[in-house]
Symmetry: C2
Subunit: 149 residues, 2 copies
């Protein structure tokens, strides 16, 4: 199973949308096709705020990963967030996720990124195992809070 | 007490650095003057990844707030992170923090930001009260994990 990463461009939207819809459905995240398209397009068009990579053959991707770019005074510069990662159910359990994250982390480090973050549900055992194997550590003693604007 | 916000520019570095040093010392975050300067300057110079605002009179600020910009497919576009907020100890307890966050949230919403996030230590009662009063809610059931690159 190839876990090659291809930077997704506007031409990839049609291949990307069904994968994103499948992911949102799986994690019970309510979103319409229009909302997904509006959130994805700026990143496909080269926004400085993030990038989307197709996993596997670019004509028949087996998943995608969205990494968004931020900044952290504590970490000393550019940081990133794994905003979404999805691998088709039929090809899970073969190490694709770990390969993708390791490859992405190396690439982002090489362009100067200082730290990579993600959010996980602690009850999701397979996700916890994957991220722990990929050297992510819980930000102990901190709570993430959000406000919709 | 005026909690006016001024976008900090490179010329403000000398006024900003002692405030950032005081904050890092207070929260026991190890950083050198050089590291702080390197992390702050790109934002002062107009990086798309964030902005720094001085709180109060621009010639004699009483604090600062660093907001970094990211992207979220879930929230549907641009999101932000309150990376650091600091108010001089002598002027705390007068509502400056709430005023600053409310004003910043309104400004960021007006330019299209969808959601604002922050990290807090749950044991820090005054911070929890401030953020709750400012309509931040815990991302229940999620754990933040980080990997230094």
């Amino acid at each position: 199973m190839s876990a090659a990463l291809h930077l997704a461009k506007p031409d990839d939207l049609a291949r990307l949308l069904p994968l994103v819809a499948a992911f949102h459905s799986e994690v019970e995240l309510q979103s319409t096709d229009e909302e997904r398209k509006n959130a994805l397009m700026p990143l496909l068009e080269g926004s400085p705020h993030g990038a989307i990579y197709l996993i596997g053959p670019s004509k028949g991707p087996i998943g995608y990963i969205v990494v968004t770019f931020g900044w952290s005074i504590e970490f000393g510069g550019l940081d990133g967030f794994i905003d979404e990662i999805y691998i088709r159910p039929g090809v899970r359990g073969r190490g694709v996720g770990a390969e993708v994250i390791t490859s992405l982390a190396g690439m982002l480090k090489s362009v100067g990124m200082k730290a990579l973050h993600l959010e996980v549900e602690p009850a999701n055992d397979s996700a916890m195992r994957l991220y722990t194997r990929c050297h992510f550590k819980a930000r102990d003693g901190y709570l993430l809070m959000s406000r919709v604007l």
